[in-house]
Symmetry: D2
Subunit: 467 residues, 4 copies
């Protein structure tokens, strides 16, 4: 899958390193796959906060000059991918504000389902908002808390929040990591000699040569300051609901996530896919890079040869302009090319992670036909996506999800594929066993762990319309 | 005077024109002399507010693309010159926020003397701040008002403010102009066919071919909407205290200000200067462009020939880098050159508007000596500046003002001038007669119209240190 | 006059200074009025040439980084204003090339009238051209010379050139200054301690604190190297033909040019203008800045008061976009504003240097009428421009010159002026006496000093059409 | 292999399409892997040539605005990777010049071994050069030809050239493709309806939906104009010497090259590698993306499982700044990460295409050790590179090639690998059989097909030193 579902964000933080901003810069590099729209870092030297935020990739926003303006031993960073098209600098994070007890900065991955309600309530009470992000709501709640210490203020604020949030916060002298009680989004703790690290994914630890310590637990608040690290568990424990799509698509294959390695789960998804409904074919090919591991699993299990029948170009920029209407499947062609001598005359199983609207998958199938494939068998390492996500993934509305209105056969026909098979929900859950009940599968089943969502969906739209 | 005192801002607004943003762009062009650090426009089409704000000159921030993103029939704009070196995009105006009743945008010229106190109070009450400007305080106060209509909310907010403020505000459907009870900073009303205009100075009216209507009165609030223009006078009348430095230096010579034309006042200042202490000399030369009119008045009154003995370069950018330490008076030389064949062997009266630190004036006198002048007689069309301004002008601290600690003769010696004369306070006030008591002369006398200032000065510093 | 005639270029060179590129940067700053389209510097450390050339103002092209890439003790620079709209980076100067004896760089001010013929001839002989400038022709001729030393090669090349050229050349170890036999364009020699300076105008010497030595004589070649400065006069002496328009408009008033100071000549032009045809009026006002000195001369001679009735804005960028068609005289209004209280009800003499197409002057007269002037008497400190220039000034074709087809009265009527008077040719020449025959007045008289021009004009057009 | 050997260029041309520049833009996109330093397009509408050239990726240089300035039905384009560090805009291609018969533009892939000699000769004869590329030499030779028609001029010029050149040329009305007699670099002909296409690689044909027609033959000149396509074979036929490294590394796997598909040759190289010296291991992993196909071939032949033990990040920009010295193997880590759960405790065969200096390979081996691999067996799908290339690949000097001075065992030790194996020359040639004598293997054997090279190498260095 490429260019379809978009995750909101990657967050990173480090406490206690003389090159805190530089390491955060590296950390954001390693989390670039989680958001390419804006990047930002806030640092502290113990006296003041310093902020650099800009639109674009980490490599575009930061250079020697901007990094040199971020002194200090604490830093947090954020990569963002906007939802709803409001891709404005005012929404970039970390958000930095002044409040009664000094300055505060926040980086947020996730989505609050009661943001509109809280915002209305705060505005009624005289609050003003400068961005369209739900993250600003969190800062208002913290600032309004009458508790004395930051961790207590954070707890009081969290008490109001519903939805998905993995947060990294800082003030002049401490760093705080928070994960919502369901643990929708990942957040891990690492250690680089004496310094503590917080990050969305473990893959960045390798990059900065830090060690993996553990996950921030669902509902846990970790506070890191001069006294070291301390943990708060203010909420009653509930069954976690990790986003299963992190395994299917978002996370980097080299990350350790929710206790499993992403690449091994993906291999297993492919194997299970092959087990569920076998097909006679000559080749298994992945949609690079997202379908790579599942395709390898599929090939291994089915004993059909694995080939690189699609080549991906890695120079496609974000600003590509379409020069001609006469070329078919343009967007796909720029990124992928079918390798004729591999697929010509062959019965091809092509493995991708999922289908959202179906438009790109259709172009892909046609690309393979055009490249000479005799049969194209589309296989997806996830069940059909029938419901929107309200916990931090940018899914289209239900109407736009092809699987919400079309039958399997209608989709197959639309894609022009010779056969089409999705992984079963049971197969998916089996691959993450034994704690399969710890995952949110709302996008497949409509079983939303946080209830208010339907009511709030309309509010969300309202909210956006106004901004 | 060049590169010394810096005014905060220019503000502009227009209601009821189909090209509101374009005309605001022009208006900001005409007010560019009041602030060159950032520029911004917020517009409304009656449904939503649109905002474009950036660092730099109006011509750098705006182009066809940015202007095309500002639809609608209402627009306000702002040019800013920062004080205290915090020249950051987060401080650029207009500030746009969401609050309980929708969106609101504010452009502010002036300075609140109780900003720190109000900010503390608001923060105590849970408010968060995203900029370091006192203008954000005003928006918080408006948002917290429980009154129902915007004008009433504004009145309630103004009630808390002390200091100088000429404001232009807007929401989706109306535009509001406000001037503080002392009327420190100017704000005028104009009319362009059916559209109403608010602007810091009247010179922009010529540019957009609008007519001058009147000043917004000190303490007046004008509200412009579908029903036309209405006026509120919620404060008891007091003796106004217009900034007399607008006449001496800030305003454009072609503006009509506080009921007088700026160029004629400047001519009169020069004449009075010549009357007070005559000098035997061969030439009167202005420091271009700031000393032009006073020098012409001086020449006329003294009957000493007026000559352009200094040539000003208009290509000096803001980013000039000093390439060599071996060249003396570098900064001045780039901007000004003495014309040897005019001044060589001559006794020269050089007229400028004022002296702040004295560093530049000293270089200027030396430039004239270097150009062959036999005698250099420095004349200033204002009294010695001995006190800092707290009402919106970026003066250095008292310690840095040369006239606060040195005697006339010590200053003359420092400047290496053959003689030095300031205009007397009486002479200055005579030139703006008959309503001389309507002006603030605090920078010369230390008589600050708004009392709390001394207390708040320290707070101001504190405030800045923290940001 | 503003925005009408455009000169080609300013040139600068320095030999023997450890900060050669930095001083060239300053020199180009001081010559910015001679060309704002592109800027470039080539330097040498005795081993290699280094080049930095870009589009825009000096302050835009150069910064610490670009200057740091220009080491060495020799440097030459160039500001360019393109003619004919071919404003491309490939035409920016200095041009740097490799040839049989190493590297060579050239900066050229002027225009060759036989460029097309020479280019054809060179191309016939197998030469290839990468720019559309006639300057590249000169480099080809030098490279093709079979003489051994650079000065001899230059002489051989010059022998083929017809037209106007003030050149600064350099190779790894020497700098050469050249002026055509007529001396159309200026070129002066200065000295900064041990270093030699070449520059279009003397005003830059003040800026870099160098001394004025002398002009490079018409037809002279000066070679500056380790042995000091040496002079070659390979051409038989002829009566020089300096561009008289340098006095009228192009040069900076503080420059010493062709043995006279520019500002004093301009004053004298104004005085003579007043003498020729007196007018009854209340005020003399200059068109700032170009008409300043002539207006002061006019006022002095006529005893009519001098006033600043027009205010010029110095923030007008080059990229201004016209936001509305409903505003009259837009371009002029952005740059100039009439000061109503000065001119209202007055009979105004407005002094400018010249009229080209008449469009801007017409707007200006209407601006003054609009500002309330009772009568507007337009006075020009030059005779009517009836003929195009082929020696380095960007004049429009004859058809577009208003004075080539319209009578004095028709022009007056077009301008909507109450009266119109040009300076007489005799008056102009009287002001530069006693060597009045040393000036080119072709733009007024059609007497072109270099004959081939008419033939070549068509070729020039041809040439441009092709590029 | 990543970031080691760099090819010079990709070339593209299209004749007879109304969107010629747009398709060239796409073509350059598809050839981006052949050069990322500069990109350029020249187009013709039959009357004039238009040129846009800039530093950076295709997506950075071109946008709607630049493309709109390239009208016409003929266009050629060029991606460049500089050798020798002279990455300057003046060296970007296509080069466009004027000469006796109009305008001419050239895009060149390859390297002339007698460039210095030809350049000296041309300079002796009066030529001037504006770039440091050998391509400019070709244009001089063409311009100097006294033949009447362009193809004849080209032939006369080619007669002087020695070395590698695949050229695309154009003037206002025709396009010419040329390949040197040895056919070192590829060049193919395609057809898009009525339009003819020339391109370095066939992969771009899929992108623009054109058909593959054939290769331009070694020593062939194809001329495309109104009359269609015509072919010239002016040189006596010789045994071709295609660059075998195009198969090993440069070309895209989906290209058809020298009559074979790149991916199938690479698979075969991997298989042969496995056959030559078997090793006991648990996993075969590729260095992505360059070692992918060879690793798959290796795995298939050896029956050792293929795994993605290294993950590549595709967001690494070219401007990355190294933030900390304390992190080991920095450059490699940003691009690659070892997947611990795949390789931990395993005996790993890692397959890459080649080793140049050995520095990066060493870091890679250490990365695998650090990731927990029990044994690391390095396998290269090419023989040791012992000699520099003079035909268009940017190899370092012999001294820097690790295989030119170190034995197999010394290299293994340096890399810290448990074993090291290169593919044998026989194995390599066997994989491209049956026409193995048609390939240049000079970088492995030192048998340079073009003899003058040794003499010219010194000249080349001389040449570069001067530039």
């Amino acid at each position: 899958m490429f260019g379809k579902l978009k995750e909101y964000c990657g967050v990173f933080g480090i406490y206690g390193h003389p090159e805190a901003a530089n390491l955060t810069y590296l950390g954001l590099y390693g989390l670039q796959h989680r958001g390419q729209e804006s990047a930002g870092i806030v640092s502290s030297d113990g006296q003041s906060l310093f902020s650099e935020v800009g639109m674009g990739l980490v490599a575009e926003v930061f250079n020697e000059k901007t990094l040199s303006r971020l002194p200090g031993y604490i830093a947090i960073g954020h990569n963002r991918y906007s939802t709803y098209g409001t891709s404005l600098i005012k929404n970039a994070q970390p958000i930095m504000v002044d409040y009664a007890q000094g300055s505060l900065a926040l980086a947020h991955n996730g989505n609050l389902v009661n943001a509109r309600m809280l915002r209305d309530e705060l505005e009624e009470d005289g609050a003003i908002f400068r961005s369209g992000t739900d993250s600003e709501v969190i800062l208002h709640l913290i600032a309004r808390s009458e508790r004395r210490f930051l961790p207590d203020k954070v707890v009081e604020a969290l008490d109001r929040l519903k939805g998905a949030y993995s947060l990294v916060l800082m003030d002049k002298q401490e760093m705080v990591g928070v994960r919502d009680p369901y643990g929708f989004r990942p957040l891990i703790v690492g250690k680089l000699r004496d310094a503590f690290v917080l990050a969305s994914e473990s893959c960045v630890l390798d990059l900065i040569e830090a060690e993996y310590v553990r996950e921030v637990q669902p509902g846990e608040i970790v506070v890191i300051n001069e006294q070291g690290i301390s943990s708060y568990r203010p909420f009653p424990p509930i069954v976690p609901k990790h986003c299963i799509f992190e395994f299917i698509y978002f996370a980097r294959p080299d990350s350790l996530l929710f206790g499993k390695t992403v690449n091994s789960v993906r291999m297993e998804l492919g194997k299970q896919l092959a087990r569920e409904i076998p097909v006679e074919a000559d080749l298994v090919i992945p949609v690079p890079d997202s379908g790579m591991f599942a395709a390898m699993g599929y090939a291994e299990e089915s004993d059909i040869p694995f080939k690189m029948g699609l080549i991906r170009s890695h120079y496609v920029g974000r600003t590509f302009i379409e020069p001609t209407r006469s070329i078919r499947h343009f967007g796909v062609k720029l990124k992928l090319n079918a390798v004729r001598d591999i697929i010509e005359g062959k019965r091809v199983v092509v493995v991708d992670d999922s289908i959202v609207r179906g438009v790109t998958s259709r172009k892909l199938v046609q690309l393979l036909h055009g490249g000479g494939a005799k049969e194209v068998h589309m296989r997806l390492s996830s069940p059909p996506i029938k419901y929107s996500c309200f916990y931090g993934i940018d899914t289209p509305t239900r109407e736009e999800l092809i699987a919400s209105s079309k039958s399997l056969d209608e989709i197959r026909e639309y894609l022009t594929a010779d056969s089409l098979q999705y992984l079963s929900l049971e197969g998916l859950l089996g691959a993450v066993a034994p704690d399969q009940e710890h995952y949110c599968t709302a996008c497949f089943t409509g079983n939303y762990p946080v209830e208010e969502v339907w009511h709030d969906v309309d509010q969300l739209k309202l909210f956006e319309r106004e901004l």
